[in-house]
């Protein structure tokens, strides 16, 4: 392995116009909320604008030149984005966001189950998606609501049982009961790669091995990993991988679901309508092969083009360099925050197998109030339960402050964060 090259943060920042604006009466913006959504470089904005100015047409429809070029732009974006994660274009489905990608999976289970109950034909291999009471789905206690609520819904509709891998006190998955949790009743295991609230990086490969041993489907929510570290879908051991474009410097309105070819082929469609069909008569319809089977209607074309530009941008920086940079920032921030009396990190304290999302609470000040003072200093963080309410319950807090990093953050941003947390303590008169 070659040594990572340090990121030139000053140069990178010039690519992100929004970072030069001020907030709250002239304060420079210190953006530490990339876990919620990342900012976008001009390269992404230009790609979208160029598409609309020169190419725009509805893809996979019509035979005029623009329609051909638009289809080409859309499919070549699929190439770029699948290559970015080490996959093949025909295995990449575009969705609205990671939430929709995960619902696509849970609805494949539901639709297969409903169809089987009526004796309807399923795609080849579709029986793996048929659930019965007594079947089990395994998730973890650390999931974002997007990888929790859809499974709860699925279980309540099918009679399957939802089980979860618990958390340890220091914010890691407790894998000691994995052997019994994942068993021959397990039909699907779905886990987050990197936690959006605690920053924990989970041992996806190990959990995937357990899933494979019992022939369970294995789904990975890679929303917080693909934007921040090198991820190769082929070596994760996953059958399906979901993520969002907007957290990886791309536009909102586009998400991805990568799947192994035979797994996607076995899934019945989720949203139906135009573009996803093979043959339609008044009596019935047959469906296209993946990925088209899962892309009903006119897709988000400019967003796909923008996301491809984002993937190119990250590739140019080098994902190993991005990961090394964010790792260094995380270590520096953990040290800085922990040096403040009364600050408690919620999640792993040691900077090992942990990414750049740091949740913390300040004794005597509610997270909202901390966030308000930070906001007043121009420091944008997220406060609340971060769509992972059970994690807050697990650690006995109603809300946390979360700082999360992106390629454009430097050590000076961490200094601003630490200084603003000290200001918050002073403002609310919390003494050490």
């Amino acid at each position: 392995m070659t040594e990572p090259t340090p990121l030139d943060v000053d140069r990178i920042r010039k690519d992100f116009p929004i970072l030069s604006r001020t907030v709250r009466g002239g304060r420079p913006l210190v953006y530490l909320d990339s876990g919620a959504t990342s900012q976008k470089p001009v390269q992404v904005l230009d790609a979208e604008r160029h598409f609309y100015e020169h190419i725009n047409a509805a893809v996979h429809r019509g035979a005029h030149q623009l329609a051909e070029e638009a289809t080409d732009a859309y499919e070549s974006a699929r190439h770029t984005i699948s290559a970015f994660v080490g996959g093949q274009p025909e295995d990449l489905v575009f969705t609205k966001n990671a939430t929709e990608s995960l619902n696509l999976v849970t609805y494949s289970f539901l639709n297969a189950t409903l169809k089987a109950a009526r004796g309807l034909e399923l795609p080849e291999g579709g029986e793996h998606f048929v659930l019965e009471p007594g079947d089990e789905i395994v998730i973890t206690e650390i999931e974002h609501h997007a990888n929790l609520v859809p499974w709860q819904e699925l279980c309540s509709k099918t009679g399957a049982t939802l089980r979860w891998i618990p958390l340890t006190d220091d914010g890691r998955l407790n894998l000691s009961t994995l052997d019994t949790l994942i068993n021959e009743r397990t039909k699907c295991v779905s886990i987050v790669h990197q936690s959006n609230i605690l920053g924990t990086i989970n041992d996806v490969v190990l959990i995937g091995e357990h899933a494979a041993r019992v022939k369970s489907l294995f789904v990975v929510d890679a929303c917080q990993s693909i934007p921040h570290m090198p991820v190769d879908v082929g070596t994760l051991g996953a059958d399906l991988v979901a993520w969002s474009g907007h957290k990886m410097l791309g536009p909102t309105g586009i998400g991805c679901l990568w799947g192994r070819s035979e797994v996607l082929a076995a899934m019945p469609p989720f949203i139906s309508g135009g573009s996803m069909i093979r043959k339609v008569t008044m009596e019935g319809t047959t469906f296209a092969d993946p990925p088209q089977r899962f892309e009903a209607g006119v897709p988000m074309t400019a967003q796909a083009v923008g996301l491809a530009a984002a993937a190119d941008y990250l590739t140019d920086l080098g994902m190993a360099n991005v990961a090394a940079h964010e790792h260094a920032l995380t270590g520096y921030a953990l040290d800085g925050l922990e040096s403040i009396p009364g600050v408690r990190i919620i999640g792993p304290r040691n900077n090992v197998e942990r990414g750049g999302a740091i949740s913390f609470v300040v004794d005597g000040i509610h997270a909202h109030d901390v966030g308000q003072v930070l906001d007043d200093r121009g420091v944008a963080v997220r406060v609340g339960h971060h769509c992972a309410a059970p994690v807050c319950q697990r650690y006995g807090v109603t809300a946390t402050v979360r700082a999360s990093f992106g390629v454009y953050n430097g050590f000076d941003d961490v200094d601003s964060l630490v200084a603003a947390v000290k200001d918050a303590k002073q403002f609310f008169g919390v003494t050490d």
Partner: protein, 157 residues
């Protein structure tokens, strides 16, 4: 500085020494409200007295978890509505709702009715915090409505 406009001294005082905190007996109705975006919670009890049409808010008590704004707001609510007629309590609630819209709409306010609640004017400048300020008031509205319908003669349901 804008922060000081939001966290006025009155608000911080109510936050540090809340009035009406701790659930009391007896009560006519109890409600539990949460702010789904941040997880703040309040349990609030209301006791009414007097004949239908001229009821008085005999007591308002609460137990809650949350930020300074939501805590202080519950305390101020207690001060403004406990011991007044139900009609006045609802008028005060309307005034407080208007106050929360004052950043984007032209409103005329009855400062008499609002009392300390006028200190929340700065909060109205921060859309993300308006829900914090409203949490206790919306819980009160819910509880008061339940208490009045509970007091209706049977057969009215």
């Amino acid at each position: 500085m804008r922060l000081d406009q939001m966290y006025q001294e009155v608000i911080l005082d109510h936050y540090k020494n809340p009035h009406g905190k701790g659930l009391v007996e007896p009560f006519d109705s109890q409600v539990h409200h949460v702010n789904p975006t941040c997880g703040d919670e309040i349990t609030l009890r209301v006791k009414l007295s007097g004949a239908a049409g001229s009821q008085v808010v005999e007591s308002v008590s609460f137990d809650s978890q949350g930020c300074s704004i939501s805590q202080a707001s519950a305390s101020v609510l207690h001060d403004q509505v406990e011991g007044v007629s139900l009609d006045q309590a609802f008028l005060t609630l309307d005034e407080f709702s208007s106050l929360m819209k004052s950043a984007t709409a032209e409103v005329t306010l009855d400062e008499e009715l609002l009392g300390d609640a006028i200190a929340f004017e700065g909060v109205a400048q921060y859309p993300a915090r308006i829900k914090c300020a409203l949490l206790a008031w919306m819980a009160f509205k819910d509880a008061a409505v339940q208490a009045t319908s509970a007091a209706q003669p049977a057969g009215d349901e």
